[in-house]
């Protein structure tokens, strides 16, 4: 039996989160192989379309990572992201996409360990939710069982 390996898209802001992920690399931390990073200029640049596109294309989870509140390179882009993701999660509520499949968090440049923790937690969350039926075949049994 195949173990369910979630497919997760991580949208990282260029200034903090992307550098935080690099810091995890420089520290040679263990990261899950199922998290795939996409660089954007700011977490505030992440449109609902980008998130929905990821689910449509077969992602089991999407995590948006921006600068810590107060540290946004563009002043308050991360707070716009926060408002937007809260709304988007409400929009997902009646759909087959469980709102918890969309997460938002903050990782500052240099916070490699925090990045590792956040993406590992994300993998665990999505593992417990199981694969998202839409967009890709669902041969794997739920919960890796």
């Amino acid at each position: 039996m195949t173990v369910f390996e979630p497919r997760i898209i991580a949208l990282l802001c260029n200034w903090c989160a992307y550098d935080g992920a690099d810091a995890a690399g420089r520290a040679r931390l263990d990261l899950p192989a199922q998290v795939w990073e996409v660089r954007v200029m700011c977490s505030g640049q992440v449109s609902p379309g980008m998130v929905l596109k990821a689910f449509e294309a077969g992602a089991d989870g999407v995590i948006v990572l921006g600068c810590q509140p107060g540290d946004c390179h563009y002043k308050e882009g991360n707070l716009h992201a926060l408002k937007r993701m809260v709304l988007l999660r409400a929009v997902l509520e009646p759909t087959p996409v469980h709102p918890q499949r969309l997460q938002l968090d903050w990782v500052s440049a240099g916070q490699g360990h925090r990045y590792a923790q956040v993406v590992n937690d994300m993998v665990e969350t999505i593992r417990s939710l199981g694969p998202l039926a839409a967009g890709h075949s669902r041969e794997e049994p739920l919960n890796g069982g």
Partner: protein, 655 residues
Amino acid sequence: MKDRIGVFICECGPNIKDAMDIPQLVHFAGHLEAVVLAEPVGLMCAPNDRKKVADTIRRHHLTHVVFASCSPREHEQTFRGVLESAGCNPFMMQAVNLREQCAWVIHDRDQATRKARRMIGAGVQRVRHHAPLTPREIDCRPDVLVIGAGVAGISAARTLSQNGRRVVMVERSACIGGMAALYEDLYPDFNCAACLIEPDLDDVLHDERIEILTTSEVLSVRGTPGNFTATVKQAAPHVDPLRCIGCAACIEACPVTVPNEFNAGMDSRQAIYIPYPGSLPHVAVIDKQNCLQFTDARCGACKEACPFDAVDYAAVPAVRNLAVGAVVVATGFQGFDPGRSTRYGYGTVDGVISAFAFERLVNTTGPTGGKIVTASGQAPDTVAFVHCVGSRTEAFNRFCSGVCCLSAFKQARQVRKQLPETAIHHFFADLCLPGKTAQRFFDGVCAMAGVTLHRLVHPGAIRISAENGRAIVRGTDASGAVQQVDAQLVVLATAMEAPAGTPQTGRILDLGLDDDGFFKEAHPVVDPVAAVREGFYLAGCCQGPKDIPASISQGQAAAGRIMQKLIPGGKITLNPIVARVDPDLCSGCRTCEALCPYDALARDENEACMTIEEALCRGCGICAAVCPGGAISVCHYSADAVYAEIAGLLKPDEK
């Protein structure tokens, strides 16, 4: 022309090579749609491999390139340079971060190779959506705005002017010179402060290239490095500086008396006043909050008394726009208000004064003509100095100002010089004696007769109370014993804090603050003079407590940075990664306008659509994300490009 994509996979020495199956990746990449060439490279950032890759790009007429190597944060610029040297537009590439995001963090070779395939596939899909971008160049303005006319701002302005730059100085108060101009003797050699500083003040006042706007404040600074527009508000000049000669006839006529803040409230001034003897520019200023003409609409005594017709109650404030290329922020510091803690007895116990008040007390232009006396006019028999007031405590400021210990010891020597018999006591938990002169200076204080040092268990282990008209200082030492001194004058060595208006100034100028409330540097170690906003520089105590020479050095350093960046007649290159509006899709709803952090969007009323001022746009993409019509796109980060990358990553794995 058909897309001809090249994929270069860097082995990064053993870093990437040992972590994944490079031949498999090369094979995989070579078979992707539109890829005409896939090659491994030993070390892509090395000069010989850069040249080899550039030659390959040229030879194979590649239109797009994917560099699968290290983090773009490290070498994106390098690889853009490779494209440029191959005659291609530098933006026709995508960097795939195989090293940090794969080789270094996925320790299973098979899993790492699988992820790398996805990443390379996504990079190939994405790069096809990249378009050539050409950075626009705009003229730069070599003129500079300096905010704050203390020693730091003045040193920046003079250095700039000496190199032919025009400078506008904006100073909130009525006079220039800042705090240092109010001191008597300077550490460590007891040089007369006025003798050292006033010639510089005179210089800037008469410098044709330096314009000084006193009683003024900056309302906004818009624009980009090299091209700022600063809006400055000048308070109404109720005394015309071109007519007033500082004769003081108005002051004699004024019926209003208020405490004089320039002497720490130790004497009084009129509602029309000259800040202090010798203050520059030497003209009278009206304190509108206390002037009867403004509070009661009646009086007119000063206007009547002025022999030069310089007083004009009807004068109005002026708002000016200044075109500058860079900004030096030199807004200085304020002394900690010891009244915020009851333990110091400040304001309740007679004879307790701040270190700043002592500077005025000992100053020949101060309230007592330089005589160290108590409020009752007597020379004190005992003077106590208390260190670390408001600093090194969780309650107020965590930091050590690094200046106050030496200032307190300087003041002790001033006491000794004037009052040979007076007992001197210092209460401190630790001493901060940095630099090449401090220890020798301190040894000199210790060698003086009648000086007693009391070491406290911590900076706050002290209490000052009033008994029989005297100030009783009680400090607790490490053994728990209380050391008591019965003083007539207590001088509090107060922390140097960021001025109260700093958060507001930070908002206006878009500058970040550090944990202690000072303006944050671009980098505290390697870029301590630049502010977080590009084109802004910090000088003096607004960046952190420092002494006069350090403030002057930082002012000069800020000027140097500006002269290096802004060359008269030179050009400024704009970041080409900016947002663009498609006028056919835009309905002009202005949703984006309200969210743009840089005021870069405006509505073109003729076309009923939004326009972007490229010089202001920094390409964050917040506007693109909120546009309900999908009319805004960020160059190089278009929704299509990001979608293509996401879809590429999620492409079902072909075994």
